[in-house]
């Protein structure tokens, strides 16, 4: 490299050509190379492979074995779409999202607004709110299992109002409990996102709203909510992605998507069909459909939230 720093005819010409080809700081290419290779190896290639697998007959083989993997068109997709278990799992995710996303947005915005104006104990409250977010799902699932078991604290406290069958083995309540669990666990992160957005709302907007005689609720509705709308779009999209990725909770909290598949998620199904039963091609098709679903829901949300 030092040679290029010297003034001189031929060297300068070489340098110009290098600049035209690789940019002003070619060393940047070397610095990003490991990360770019990582993206290619762990995201881009598997992404392509996933789509490819979903259109072929694919099964597990011993390392290095050469086998024929014939193109089967949409066969994996029609197998997936005609499978009642798959339809149930996608339906479960719709139930999950209808409960989880509104709950997350409302509670996160409410707590962030309150926290933004709080004077005392801010640090304590902030930490209290994101402790569930930083803790392993497996760990907090342990205590929720205990709390919501048929003889657990929640049912003891409810007494005669306790549901029967109990929460996690009740086919109408299993998915809602999971939706509430995930909202509870992720809320701290979304509160942080809203806090960042709230700090960018100009104070004058609140002052002029107060001058117009707006109540606290009015100014929340007419100033805060529109001002944090981009953050809301982000929260809704991230919460949707989190919901689509659901695996640990149905696997552990409701004992493998029970009762009778009432809390099975598409990812749990991908694991069961792909790894346990050895049909990775079918599992890949479920994955592709899941991502298409997430993209459609995200676009719909964005359109709903950002139109005027």
């Amino acid at each position: 490299m030092p040679a290029t720093l010297l003034p001189g005819g031929p060297i300068r010409a070489t340098r110009d050509r290098v600049t035209a080809l690789l940019g002003r700081h070619p060393v940047g290419l070397a610095l990003v190379a490991p990360y770019a290779a990582f993206i290619a190896l762990v995201f881009a290639y598997p992404f392509g492979l996933s789509v490819w697998m979903s259109f072929h007959e694919y099964f597990f083989t011993a390392p290095g074995a050469q086998v024929d993997r014939p193109f089967v068109g949409l066969r994996n997709y029609s197998a997936v779409l005609s499978d009642p278990g798959v339809r149930q799992a996608f339906g479960n995710i719709v139930v999950f999202l209808l409960i989880n996303v509104p709950l997350t947005v409302v509670l996160a915005l409410l707590l962030a607004t309150a926290l933004n104006r709080a004077v005392r104990a801010r640090m304590f409250l902030r930490v209290a709110y994101y402790v569930p977010y930083v803790t392993a799902s497996v760990s907090v699932v342990g205590v929720w299992l205990f709390l919501f078991s048929s003889g657990g604290l929640v049912n003891k406290a409810l007494g005669p109002l306790a549901p029967d069958p109990s929460w996690l083995v009740n086919e109408h309540l299993a998915m809602p409990v999971i939706a509430v669990f995930v909202a509870w666990k992720q809320l701290g992160f979304f509160i942080l996102l809203y806090l960042a957005a709230l700090q960018n709302v100009p104070r004058e907007l609140y002052e002029s709203a107060a001058m117009d005689g707006a109540s606290r609720w009015d100014s929340f509705r007419s100033v805060t909510v529109p001002a944090v709308r981009p953050a809301t779009t982000l929260v809704v999209i991230l919460a949707t992605i989190t919901g689509a990725n659901l695996f640990t909770e149905p696997y552990l909290l409701t004992g493998g998507g029970g009762p009778n598949g009432a809390s099975t998620s598409p990812v749990l199904l991908m694991y069961q069909r792909g790894v346990e039963q050895g049909h990775p091609d079918v599992a890949a098709a479920i994955g592709v459909l899941l991502v298409i679903g997430v993209v459609l829901v995200s676009l719909l949300n964005r359109w709903l939230l950002e139109r005027d």
């Binding site: 990360y35 993206i39 707590l111 803790t135 695996f247 792909g274």
Partner: protein, 281 residues
């Protein structure tokens, strides 16, 4: 007058909301800890405040079942490997994306944005095929680490950090004739400490808490991180134990403690601005 009354009642309402929130978030953790110390589970509301009969027996039980130390070492190696790769390669990538002009930078940045929205679970099956079947990395640390090796949010945090450093810093070094590598080493890296702590914190919670991936690729119990061995205990063994919840909660406390402790000690490096910049780019 009316203004101050509504102000006071507003403050009370706010305090109630904030406090209720804190209780809802913290109570399960308190209950987890208390439950892990009880020899017999007492699930009545009064049992949430036990005065006697606390014991460490549940910790002995879970240790006998899942070998806590071995699992913690596995979790530590998995997490440490991810943090090391993320810090080393993430700093380089973040610096280059923020301060250097080179061909392909815009493309790479667009790809990175895209990566953040591709759900990992879509890649589950192909990654399993590649890492377990093609590369033969089942039951190995590299196999565990590879899909998590460089945390993209961390790259964003580093990039954001280097973007906000004053240009004069870099201009002065260039005038002195320093090369780009030299500038990175002696100007940028010595300043990176605050971003480094944020990155370590948010990278830590990924692999330490991750269940699905290590669960898929570790079949040997002596290679499983704690999240996996505890989950296996919950789904297979617990039903047969004398005080199943006690042992589960003891394991849950051991798994939760390092993350919770780190975030309490270093909480000021995990703020809305840090995370906001990471997510929004």
């Amino acid at each position: 007058m009316a203004q101050t009354v509504s102000g006071a009642s507003g403050q009370v309402a706010r305090a109630v909301v904030l406090f209720a929130g804190a209780v809802a978030f913290l109570f399960p953790f308190y209950y987890m800890f208390i439950g892990s110390l009880q020899a017999m589970p007492d699930t009545s509301p009064a049992g949430a405040l036990p005065s006697t009969g606390l014991t460490l027996g549940n910790y002995r039980e879970i240790n006998a079942q899942v070998h806590l130390v071995r699992s913690l070492v596995n979790s530590g190696i998995f997490t440490g490997g991810v943090i090391a790769c993320t810090v080393v390669f993430g700093v380089l990538a973040g610096y280059a994306l923020a301060r250097l002009r080179f061909r392909g930078r815009g493309t790479l940045f667009a790809v990175v944005l895209l990566v953040q929205v591709v759900p990992f679970q879509l890649l589950l099956i192909p990654l399993y095929v590649l890492i377990v079947r093609s590369y033969g990395l089942a039951d190995s640390y590299p196999g565990m680490i590879l899909p998590y090796a460089i945390n993209t949010t961390a790259v964003f945090v580093f990039r954001q950090f280097f973007l906000q450093l004053p240009d004069e810093l870099f201009a002065a070094a260039r005038v002195d004739g320093a090369g780009e590598v030299r500038i990175l080493r002696s100007v940028a890296l010595p300043l990176v400490r605050p971003a480094l702590l944020t990155v370590v914190l948010l990278t830590f919670i990924g692999p330490w808490n991750e269940f699905l991936w290590p669960f898929l690729i570790t079949k040997q119990t002596d290679m499983q991180p704690l999240a996996v061995s505890l989950a296996n205990y919950i789904s297979n063994v617990a039903a047969r134990a004398a005080n199943p919840y006690g042992a589960v909660l003891a394991g849950a406390c051991v798994l939760a403690a390092p993350a919770v402790a780190l975030f309490i000690v270093f909480q000021r490096y995990f703020t809305s601005t840090n995370i906001g910049s990471g997510v929004k780019g």
